[in-house]
Every structure is written in C-alpha cells, then in structure tokens.
Amino acid sequence: MAELLYQHAEPEAVLSGTHFMDGNHAACEGAIAAGCRFAAGYPITPSTEIVERFAERAPHVGAMFIQMEDEIASSICLQGAVWGGLKAMTVTSGPGFSLMMEHTGYAAMTETPCVFVDVQRAGPSTGLPTLPAQGDMLQCRFGSHGDYEAIALCPSSVQECFDFMIEAFNLAEAYRVPVFFMMDECVGHMTEKLVIPDAREISVLGRRFTKKPPEEFLPYAPGEDLVPEMVKAGDGYRFHVTGLTHDERGYPSTTLATQRQLVVRLIEKIQRNAPKIWKWEERNLQGAEVAVISYGISARVALKAIELAKQDGIQAGLFRLITVWPFPGQRIQELATRVRAIVVPELNLRGQVANEVERAVQGRCPVVPVGHPGGGVHDPQDIFHAIKEALS
C-alpha cells in the first residue's frame, strides 16, 4: 500500500501573508497552494472569478487553464489531465453542475482524484444567477446514476475557502474520489480577511503513485484502506481506464461478481474511512437545549439566531457541518440524545440536509427544517422562531 506522503506546499506558489480577498479568489489560492496545476472551466456566474484568477496565476506557478466548449467537456478534460499526471479541478455553478453529472460518475468509477467546485446559486434551471442557494447538496451526492460515495465540503468563510480547498485536494488524493467543494454565492463573493500561512505550514498530499515494478502492478488492486495506487501516462507503467465495470487489471468484466466487488469497494472506501474524513465545528453545544445544524453561509446567519435565542433565555448551540458527505450521522445521533430539539436552516426548500439529519436522529428528538427558496439568506428571526417553536 502506498503510504500517504504529505509535503509542504511549493513556496513560490503560495501568497503567504494577510489579505483582504473574496471567497472565490481565496478558493483559487487554496487550489494553487494544494498543488492544483490544471483547471478547465466554462464561464458561469457566480463562480467565474475562480478560474479568471487561476488563468492569470497559471504561468507563474507552472499551471494551465483551458476554457473548454462547455461544462461537459471541462469536467472530463480535467480527468484526462489527472491521468496525464496533474492535480486538477473544474469550477462551475448550478446549470453547469447539472451538465457535469456524467463525469462525476466517471471520476467515481475510474477513481480519478479531482475537485469539482460548485458556487451554488438559486435554481432550478437558470434561476437566479447572481444570488445564493444551497440547493445542489443532494445533486453532488446522488447526481450521477448508479451507486457511489463522494466527499463534499462546505466552507463558510473566505479563510475556509482557502483552507478547505487544500483539504479537498488532499482528500481527493487520499481516497481517489471526486471531491465536491460546495460553496455558495455569498461565501464566494464575500470579502474578508484571509491569512495565507507560510508554505512550510501547509500540508499537501502527493499522489499515491505505486512503487511496485510494472510487471507486478495492477491498477485497480486496492490497498488495505481499499484505495488502489496510481500511475500516470508516460512513466512506463501501463493502465487501462474504463467507465465499464472492471477487474483489478482495469479491463471490463461484466459479471455480477465483479460488479459487487467493485461497487461495494467504491462505497466502503469512503464509509469505512468516514470518521477520518469528517470535519465539523461545534459552538455553545455544552448544555444546549436546541442544536442548530447548518453549513455554509446559513451557519453564519444561524449564529445571529442563536444570539436572539439567548436573549430570550433559550440555550441554543451550533453544529456546523464542514463535511456534508459522507454525512457524520453517528455524531448527530449522539447529539440528538443530548438536546431537546434540532433546527436545520439551509437555502433550499426540501430539506436536502435536514432529511439526512432526520434519518440520523431517528426520532430521538424533533427535527425542524427551516427552508428558504434561495436568492438571499435567512432572516435570523425566522431561525429564532423555529428554535422557539421546536421547544414548544
């Protein structure tokens, strides 16, 4: 099994220092610091600033940006670049994300490490291009056909756009999955303080290239952690990559046995390692009567509601999801035994994450979703009222 080799970021690629920057630009800097050297994209609001900055920075950090003919092409072109040896990402928003679903599945099936950035805007369809939503949270999890597991992270500040983008690339390399960096328009366009640390303080996970001799190497033979090792085109190893159900050699094998072995492993390599992947933030949950579970920009709005509750004599705390997928269900189940109610504000109307919370809670306490159609953020009063109602 290839060990996980963390190195520090390339000093000449990292803009160490204190900045005043928006989330989109910070996400771009995070990607560059993480070693991303290839980006493919198609212009779409409100995400384009990420690739615009990448295009300008590219020659100075030995990277490349290509504007492809559409999002379908962008999301598969980057996978070609990964098999050519680079770390790669694509950047989009709702309508473009819908077009990419074909290739999120391909990345999952072929175990191509890569990052999809979705700066969420209100939908369905063209919706509100310049305004926020959190309506793609199930799409990133279930958007492509068939069974697979993916990883999704939600930053809620400019600093996190930088920090967790590095995490996103590291997770992609560690588990060889597409990682979804689920921003929202607010976080993308919000300008605030960003501290970029010294390159030596940034841990970057290198690709898990095999050390086996070519004659012994099997491209899809998993290691102990269920993740196979990689090679790249041109280095003397041979590989065959296919979206068809394949055996350890990477060749199609259309039998039930191979299907079971492969797809179960694709799911288990994430489920089994989930506790290592999970990240969340807890605030004021000690002794809280109500837990507010949220993510992205909504979690910041929720803080105001928690303050209003406190003024009203209600102890409420925040459980902020950073990793939304794989979902930290065990932790939430445990939380449900300690609070009287859970409130889940998010910028979609059908409780995309609230339903998952409810599934984890299994009736241990009431779960109150606080929906929103997108196009703005919650009024903190609405979340506050939900907290009050949840207790009544």
């Binding site: 920057m21 003919e69 092409a73 070609g80 041109g234 590989f239 990559v241």
Partner: protein
C-alpha cells in the same frame, strides 16, 4: 544529435502492441484492418511505446484501446476529444490518439470534436465511419444516407447526413484525410502522415460494418468499382480517374465537374494540392460524392499552423519573462480597475 536521440529510444515491434486476450469485434469487421494498420505504423514513428495514449468514447470503434498494449482511456460517449485534450496538455510529450466513430464523434461528441480541431491541439483523431450505430445494433447515425431503412428509421432516414470531412475543414482542422479499411497500404500511409503532422489531425476511415450495414461502401471501394468511382488524391497530380485515366475533374463555377480527359481545358483541370492555406479547394474536392463523382481518398488538407500546446508554452514563457508585480495590491487590482478623478 538527432541520431543519438533516436538510438536511445527503445525499439518495439508490432507484436509488443498486442496485449493478448480476445478481440471482441464481429468476425469480418473492418475494425480489425484499422487495428492492424495502427499496430504496424506505431513502431515506425520513433516514439517510445510508453508515450502512446489511446483515448476513446463509446461504440464499437471505442473498444480500440483494449486491444493496444499502450495507455488506454475508454471514456464516455462523445467525450474522447475533451479527455485527450487534458492528457495532451498535462504531458505534451505524449502522442495522443482519439479513436472514435461516426456516432461518437459526429453526434453526441460533435461539439467536443469541432473545438478540439479548432484549437489545433496536437491530437490524432481517427474516426471509424460505418454509417451506423453498430454497438446498439443498427440505428441510423449522423452519416447514414438519407432514406436508408434502419432499425430506428423504418420509413427511411429523414435527416441530411454530415460530411465528416467538410465538418472538420469548417472547424479549421489543419490535417484532414480519408482512407478505407480494405486498402491497408494506403491507410497506413495516411495514418503515418497524420502522426507526423504537428497539430490537430482528422482521419475519416470508411469501415464496413459486416452485420448492420454490410457493403454500404462497395459501390465505391470494391475492386471492380474503384477505377470508376474512387479517386486516390496524389500531391501535385491532376484529378484523373477511370481504367485508363480517361476522365478528369475540372472546376466550373467553383464546383467540380467530370469531363473526358481529352476535353479537359488545362486551366480548369483540378490539380491536387493539400498544402493550400485557404480550405476552399479542399472543401470543393471533399464534396465529390457517389454516384455523380468519383469519391476522393487521401489527404485533403495538410497545413502548418502553431499548435495549441506551442501557443500556450509561448504564453507561459512571455508571462514569466515579464517582470511580474506579485504584490497583493497588483493581484487585487487585477485587470479591470480604474481610477475616478
């Protein structure tokens, strides 16, 4: 210097390219001839075997990478040019080939194809044209002839077919050629020229689908038909055909016309030139279709233009050479700031 370099490249043979295992095309399929031709010419290209990458989409043609002992990416229906773009840009020393079919390239992947060609990225795009969807067992494709009855066109195809060559020319491909499965030496010569071309190369190969569209090209490519209905394009040679080269193609009001060679006015006799920058001649010749005209086979266009990877490389050098203000304010200001006085 060059000789030393080539001497250091490990030699390989046709046999090294055969991975073993069963080739799962129907017996008698034209794809076998294309596979054999590629396996024959690759060792002659002075490129190490580990630098070859074959990328495909979905379809019978797209099974090609399975049967090559090189790097292979069997991707998604229509998307091979986009995948190949990523591979080539990530590592420009690789020789990247796209193996595709008429459905894969002209229908679902049409957009990717034209943009890959337009960028003049150094990719070799080989399109197997059998004028049918074979893998799904016989539906009409964008190159199936109008009126033809297929499983999905029981009353005849109501669409006008694409001319793959004209599509490629229109997209600005710098190398455009056509060959057919049963003339191996000609096919190999064309593939070799394409491999040597720096920039996007598009090669249409007529390939007989023995099961779902059998003999569709026979009126042109069968041994008996060839003299009267097929015209091999030869650089610098007039367009003459027939058993005794008794017929000529002349240009009349910017269109081709067939006349007896003895009556062809010299100034209007078409002489083949693939190196013309203006694609008008290539467009004219590629429009010659059966039964009105002899169908041309060969290289329609072969011109040099800077390739995408070369252009990008130039940009990187230029950007790096330019003293770069890496200060935060310079980045923050970017390109679109102004001062109001």
């Amino acid at each position: 210097m060059k000789m030393q370099e080539s001497a250091s490249i490990p030699k390989f043979t046709r046999k090294d390219l055969i991975p073993g295992g069963e080739v799962k095309w129907c017996p008698g399929c034209g794809d076998y001839a294309i596979l054999a031709s590629i396996q024959k010419i690759l060792p002659e290209l002075n490129t190490p075997r580990e630098n070859f990458v074959f990328v495909s989409g979905i379809g019978c043609s797209s099974r090609f990478p399975y049967y090559m002992n090189t790097y292979g990416l069997h991707s998604i229906h229509g998307r091979a040019p986009a995948v190949a773009t990523g591979v080539k840009l990530a590592n420009p020393k690789l020789s990247v080939w796209v193996m595709t079919g008429d459905g894969d390239a002209m229908s679902i992947g049409g957009n990717h194809l034209i943009h890959a060609l337009r960028r003049n990225l150094d990719l070799k795009i080989v399109m197997f044209n059998n004028e049918i969807y074979g893998l799904t067992k016989g539906q009409y494709s964008p190159t199936t002839q109008m009126g033809q009855v297929t499983k999905s066109s029981p009353y005849g195809v109501p669409d006008y077919p694409f001319s793959p060559l004209r599509l490629a020319l229109g997209a600005g491909a710098t190398f455009v050629a056509r060959a057919f499965d049963v003339d191996g030496p000609h096919l190999q010569a064309i593939l070799k020229e394409a491999a040597l071309h720096k920039g996007s190369a598009f090669i249409e190969i007529w390939q007989n689908c023995v099961v779902f569209n059998d003999s569709v090209f026979d009126p042109i490519v069968s041994k008996e038909s060839r003299p009267d209905h097929l015209l091999y394009l030869e650089e610098g040679q007039p367009l003459l055909f027939g058993k005794d080269k008794e017929n000529a193609v002349i240009s009349e009001e910017m269109s081709p016309r067939v006349v007896p060679a003895s009556e062809a006015p010299k100034e209007r006799l078409l002489v083949h030139k693939s190196g013309l920058q203006d694609p008008a001649y290539a467009f004219l010749v590629s429009g010659m279709t059966y039964p009105e005209f002899p169908v041309p086979m060969g290289i329609f266009r072969n011109v040099q233009s800077p390739a995408y990877d070369e252009i990008l490389d130039g940009q990187v050098k230029k950007a790096k050479a330019k003293a770069k203000d890496n200060s935060f304010m310079a980045l923050f200001d970017g390109l679109e700031t102004w001062t109001i006085n």
